[in-house]
């Protein structure tokens, strides 16, 4: 703020406070106030319109580009997926270099592929057709509303100026009134003369700006409808065109034999959704398709308490118990030995989780060694892989030490080294 502006603001402050607190009278012009109300309405509307027009344009253009991009990605997905980036030859035909691989991948049905191709070309041409008009929206709707907002801003500045001038007018009027009412001394007479002069000027300035606004605001407000007319029509015709083009594209697309037009989207999908999700259940790699893994940990939700009714063929579990920490961790001992990491049986009753399937279940009190084990302390039982150990004492926890006999020797050994 300039020094002049600052002194003005200071000079106006007392009057502002007094008029707000009701000590001093504020000049009210009802005609102007009505205009101001209407102007404010126009101002809010114009701002909203400008903002929404921009949003509308952006949304529309992103809709068209997403649609096109979806379509072309879909076409890519429907095309054979090769490990090598496909190269395009002069005819625009995609040729994917095939390695001398003998594997055959399922071909995309011609019908579906054609539909995807058409979808892509329609989406592309719809976007091409509508893009130039998007520019029209910008030119006839977004830009003019922004212009309008800019103009309304300068009107607002004039209105602020008017309120300042009004304050000046009131201030000088009060001053003159006060001086006139009291018994005047010589210096008061001098002050009165000066005050009357200032009052004259303030009156002139205020009347000028007030009249200007009163005269021009109605003109501006009258232009409101003529302004919106072309904007509105542009919007309407453009929207009509957008939906018309998209409607035509899609109805042409739906003539494809790949689509069953007799049922609506929701109904048609309903009948296929089960088949669709069934496709995923064939993938054995998916975690949710895996059978619950029987856990040893009583805290785990999958824990199944040991039962005596063990099925000899059902005792394969992918979770190999890690060798206890007392062994030298040679990595081969940590590896899985099961043929398939994921069991195909469904029985959930098992005696103990066994790291590998066995063709036959050994006698109840005999176990087979899965790994070599060398005695590490007095009283340990050494054995080699595939040795059959007679169990003397076993606990429910295979991580525990069990007592067994082998070749006449008795000793303890880690329960998870045997099956």
């Amino acid at each position: 703020m300039s020094l002049k502006g600052f002194t003005k603001a200071v000079a106006r402050l007392p009057q502002l406070v007094m008029s707000k607190s009701g000590y001093s009278q504020e000049t009210v012009d009802p005609e102007y106030q009505d205009l101001e109300e209407r102007f404010k309405l126009l101002d809010t509307s114009a701002r909203k319109l400008s903002e929404d027009a921009k949003k509308f344009k952006d949304a529309l253009s992103s809709m068209l580009s997403h649609q096109e991009s979806f379509a072309s990605t879909l076409l890519e997905v429907y095309s054979p997926i090769s490990a090598y980036s496909p190269s395009t030859n002069a005819d625009g035909q995609v040729i994917s270099p095939r390695r001398s691989s003998t594997k055959q991948h399922a071909e995309t049905p011609q019908m579906s592929f054609k539909a995807a191709q058409d979808f892509q070309s329609y989406a592309q041409s719809a976007r091409q057709a509508l893009l130039p008009d998007l520019e029209t929206i910008e030119r006839r709707l977004v830009a003019p509303t922004q212009d309008l907002v800019g103009m309304l801003d300068s009107v607002k500045r004039v209105m602020v100026k008017r309120s300042h001038k009004l304050l000046d007018y009131d201030r000088h009027r009060e001053a003159v009134k006060k001086l006139k009412e009291k018994e005047r001394t010589v210096s008061d007479e001098k002050a009165l003369g000066k005050a009357e002069q200032s009052f004259d000027q303030a009156t002139r300035e205020y009347t000028h700006i007030n009249n200007l606004l009163k005269q021009q605001l109605p003109l501006l407000l009258r232009l409101k409808a003529p302004f919106i007319d072309p904007c509105f029509q542009t919007l309407y015709w453009y929207q009509l065109k957008v939906h018309q083009i998209l409607y035509q594209s899609f109805s042409q697309l739906l003539r494809q034999p790949a689509f069953d037009t007799t049922v609506s989207a929701a109904v048609g999908f309903e009948s296929k959704v089960d088949a669709q999700s069934a496709l995923l259940t064939d993938l054995t790699l998916l975690a949710k398709n895996r059978k619950p893994i029987i856990s040893n940990n009583p805290l785990s939700p999958d824990y199944v308490p040991p039962t005596s009714t063990s099925d000899p063929t059902s005792s394969s579990s992918p979770t190999h118990q890690p060798p206890p920490s007392y062994t030298q961790p040679t990595s081969f001992q940590t590896l899985h030995t099961s043929q398939s990491p994921y069991p195909t049986n469904t029985t959930t009753t098992t005696d103990y989780p066994l790291p590998r399937s066995l063709p036959t279940q050994p006698a109840a009190n005999c176990v087979t060694a899965l790994y070599d084990y060398e005695a590490q302390a007095e009283g340990d039982l050494s054995f080699h892989r595939d040795d059959v150990i007679e169990v003397i004492e076993r606990t429910a926890d295979p991580n525990d030490w069990w007592t067994g006999r082998l070749n006449g020797k008795q000793g303890i050994f880690p329960g998870n080294y045997v099956a």
């Binding site: 999700s277 054995t284 998916l286």
Partner: protein, 260 residues
């Protein structure tokens, strides 16, 4: 990470370094490499598809909301009368219905028929990536044990047990690696091959819901065309060029709108 996991990781890192400088042989499975690449491409494309579908839906929603708000504003502009006031009112109603339809039908349909199935497919990817990572680790284990047992074969150690043990360990590691490798080589093509049957219903539903939405929108807008024609509005938006500019110019001529 547990101590065991840590030692495993260190061992594997060492193997990886030795392989990259060429002191250790590396097992290469071309079939797997090809499938892995295909899987990566496929994963990328499906994810892009999901992003685009979501982007499309979001922008349609944004569009109908914006046009509804604009219709309200346009209506305000006509509160002091205007030849197109009636058309504005009609437009507002049409656009409101359109927004409702979009929310109730297009939105729901797209979510159920396109976004959810795509999401389910995407959910499968982490499992595959996990398996690919696991395979890589098992392969490193196997390569390491293999090179160890080969060394022992070249230079038999004093311990007569050492070589058979190493051999057994190598075979075990190979078994583990083979099982996961074979599973991946079998499963990835299965996953990729199911894409068309899997996506077809969604594709069809998407096209149909888009058609239904655009058809509805077109007819709703077409129905109020008469309101514009009655008001003498130029057909098809011809001749609108310059009109706004003219009005703006008139405004600019007012001294209160001047840039003073």
């Amino acid at each position: 990470m547990s101590w065991k996991g840590f030692t495993k990781a260190v061992n594997r890192a060492a193997t990886g370094v030795m392989q990259s400088i060429g002191t250790m042989e590396k097992t290469v499975d071309k079939d797997f490499d090809e499938e892995e690449k295909r899987f990566k491409t496929f994963e990328q494309k499906i994810e892009k598809l999901h992003r685009d579908a979501k982007g499309y839906l979001d922008s349609v929603r944004a569009m109908t909301v914006a046009q509804q708000r604009m219709a309200e504003t346009v209506d305000h502009f006509y509160d002091e009368g205007g030849p197109l006031g009636y058309a504005g009112l009609q437009y507002k109603q049409a656009v409101e219905k359109l927004d409702e339809e979009c929310r109730n039908e297009l939105d729901t349909n797209c979510r159920v028929t396109v976004l959810e199935p795509l999401g389910k497919l995407i959910q499968a990817f982490p499992d595959f990536n996990e398996a690919i990572k696991k395979r890589q680790k098992k392969l490193l284990d196997y390569d390491q044990l293999l090179s160890k047992s080969r060394k022992l074969a070249d230079k038999p150690s004093n311990d007569p047990q050492a070589y058979p043990q190493a051999l057994a360990a190598t075979n075990q590691a190979k078994e583990v690696y083979d099982s996961i490798n074979n599973q991946l080589v079998a499963e990835i093509p299965k996953l990729i091959d199911l894409r068309v049957p899997y996506l077809d219903p969604s594709f069809e539903a998407l096209v149909k819901s888009q058609l239904a939405f655009n058809e509805g929108a077109f007819h709703k807008l077409k129905d109020i065309e008469r309101a514009f024609e009655k008001a003498g509005a130029s057909n098809g938006g011809e001749g609108l060029d310059g009109q706004v500019e003219g009005v703006l110019q008139q405004m600019r001529e007012l001294s209160i709108c001047g840039s003073s």
